[in-house]
């Protein structure tokens, strides 16, 4: 749980601090200017980190077993 919270800090550092050091066009990454690709990378990375946090978080396992699940 605490480890998950630390993971969640990384995208904030990457986007809010890291962007200052990568403010450049070249090299293009997947056809995108480098600074844009950097931000995209953190958006994807952030989702992955949250997925890890979700898997580690015991709160989600408990509700899944205890309830009849989500109505769809």
């Amino acid at each position: 749980m605490t480890a998950a919270r630390w993971l969640a800090v990384l995208p904030f550092l990457g986007i809010l601090v890291g962007t200052a050091f990568v403010n450049q066009v070249e090299p293009l990454v997947f056809g995108l200017p480098f600074v844009l690709a950097w931000i995209v990378g953190w958006v994807v990375g952030g989702a992955v980190l949250i997925a890890i946090a979700y898997a580690l978080d015991p709160a989600n396992a408990e509700t899944a077993a205890g309830r009849d699940g989500e109505g769809r």
Binding site: R5, A8, P11, F12, I15, L16, V17, T19, A20, N23, Q24, V25, L28, F30, G31, L32, P33, V35, L36, I39, V40, W42, V43, V44, G46, A47, L49, I50, A51, A53, Y54, D57, A59, N60, T63, A64, R67, E70, G71, R72
Partner: protein
């Protein structure tokens, strides 16, 4: 009437029909009208949250900002992602507290947490003030879409009136139930349209993404990176921080949280919604593709870039499809904003002043306020001139002032007193209002700061003053530690 306009008109009629159909079999109490009985499951909460992202703001504003300003538009991609990461921890405790106390509004949340009806009213007023520019930008988007897609035969003014009337009618009749189903239709349509346009336009005009960016970089050096001054990296950092913190502070986003059936919904959405953000890339591609193909749009006109390029590229019927998607991106969020603003005024500003009024009268008042708020927004829309992005950032500058009070209220021991929180919000909002109205710079307010401080987003600068004021007043008004009442949650 050309085929583009016909398709757009049909989509508006369909939106109205869906709104009416959604109402069947539901007795419209206040709780039903505003949070749909707190009974939406994962997929609908997902769509409502996604509806927050895909508004006219992203569709026209995002492409327009990429077209007119370049790199600063990247902030739109960054802030949602960080906001969702925050939401994983922020939303479940808010939802639990709201469910326990049967709250229907953000203002109730503040009033209960801080045991201060006055704070509740203040929060509602801040919410309404912030929502007005958000509603204005939806109407502005409607005006752009309909008038450009009609190839000039419908004036932008007439289009704004038609759009505002449509939103008002269907919100008055169906409330949140109508919004949810239209959100589903809108999302599918906008996804398809944006991905297609963002992939097709660069390929068609430039041969590929890398070729397009090379061409832009050659024609406008420095356009694809943050500027050394003005909309600099510092601007980006403070703007992303401001908008990420404010994301769920909007009254409508806050009460959309209440519509969930269980708290796990938020944790799962926090994984999926950031990826959904990537669609914004395609929005940027549309704007970037327009830079060298429809040059010369300046000021508020930059929001037209996506449509100008579409008209130059496609047959009228397809412009109609794009227009229909665009109209829905304004109608759906416009409806959510209207429901929120009307409920805020009726339930959170007027009701505390007249506590004896029965609930059905409050619901009736909320519905009656819908056309009034729509008219106010139409008035400001017709005054016009600002870009869509500037309008939303103004709203954010106001609404993010509520963030410190929410976070502190969720702590086991709240470090803020109600007096402190009120002082902080008043200071933050006053700074934003002063700078917005007088066009003063931040450094002119605090002359000891270096000129570089002007690049800090004014909303973020105000947020810092907000926290300082709240901390100072809280220290002064803090009761003796032993007698401090401890509140759960």
């Amino acid at each position: 009437m050309n085929s583009a306009l016909l398709i757009i008109a049909l989509s508006v009629i369909m939106a109205l029909a869906l709104g009416l159909a959604a109402r069947r079999g539901v007795r419209m109490t206040l709780e039903q009208w505003t949070v749909a009985g707190r009974a939406f499951g994962g997929p609908l909460v997902f769509l409502l949250s996604a509806g927050e992202i895909y508004t006219t703001f992203t569709f026209l504003g995002g492409s327009g900002y990429a077209y007119g300003r370049g790199a600063p538009a990247y902030y739109i991609l960054a802030y949602g992602s960080l906001a969702y990461i925050l939401s994983y921890w922020l939303l479940p405790p808010i939802w639990r507290y709201a469910k326990q106390e049967r709250l229907v509004s953000q203002s109730h949340f503040f009033a209960k947490k801080y045991d201060s009806p006055g704070l509740g009213v203040l929060v509602a007023v801040v919410g309404v003030v912030a929502l007005v520019p958000y509603l204005v930008l939806q109407f502005k988007g409607l005006g752009i879409i309909v008038s450009v897609a009609s190839y000039g035969s419908v004036s932008s003014t007439a289009a704004i009136w038609i759009g505002a009337a449509t939103v008002a009618v269907y919100v008055m009749i169906s409330g949140m139930h109508g919004v949810a189903w239209n959100a589903a239709v809108k999302d599918i349509l906008i996804l398809a349209v944006v991905v297609f346009l963002g992939a097709y336009l660069p390929l068609h005009y430039y041969g590929g993404f890398a070729d397009m960016f090379h061409a832009i970089d050659a024609a406008k050096p420095g356009f694809l990176t943050f500027k050394p001054s003005g909309e600099s990296v510092l601007w980006f950092q403070s703007t992303v921080a401001l908008t990420a913190l404010g994301f769920f502070m909007w009254p409508h986003a806050f009460s959309a949280v209440f519509t969930a059936r269980q708290e796990r919904t938020f944790r799962r959405n926090a994984m999926i919604l950031p990826l959904y953000q990537l669609i914004l890339l395609f929005v940027f591609f549309c704007g970037f593709a327009a830079i060298l193909k429809v040059p010369g749009l300046t000021g508020g006109e930059i929001d037209l870039s996506l449509f100008k390029l579409s008209i130059q590229t496609f047959d009228p019927w397809f412009v109609g499809v794009i227009g229909a998607a665009g109209v829905l991106t304004a109608l759906v969020p416009g409806s959510i904003i209207l429901v929120s603003a009307a409920t805020l005024i009726a339930n959170d500003v007027l009701r505390p002043l007249m506590p004896a009024v029965p609930e059905d009268k409050v619901t009736l008042t909320a519905r009656g306020l819908v056309p009034v708020i729509a008219l106010v927004a139409v008035y400001f829309t017709l005054q016009g001139g600002q870009t869509i992005v500037a309008l939303l950032l103004m709203g954010y500058a106001f609404v993010t002032q509520l963030f410190p009070a929410v976070v502190c209220s969720l702590m086991a021991r709240n470090p803020m007193t109600k007096q402190g929180v009120i002082a902080g919000i008043v200071v933050g909002v006053a700074v934003v209002a002063y700078v917005t109205l007088t066009h003063a710079t931040f450094v002119s307010l605090l002359p000891f700061l270096p000129a570089k401080a002007n690049e800090v987003n004014i909303g973020f600068a105000a947020l810092i003053l907000n926290v300082l004021a709240a901390a100072a007043v809280s220290l002064a008004t803090r009761p003796a530690a032993v007698s401090a009442p401890s509140r759960p949650g």
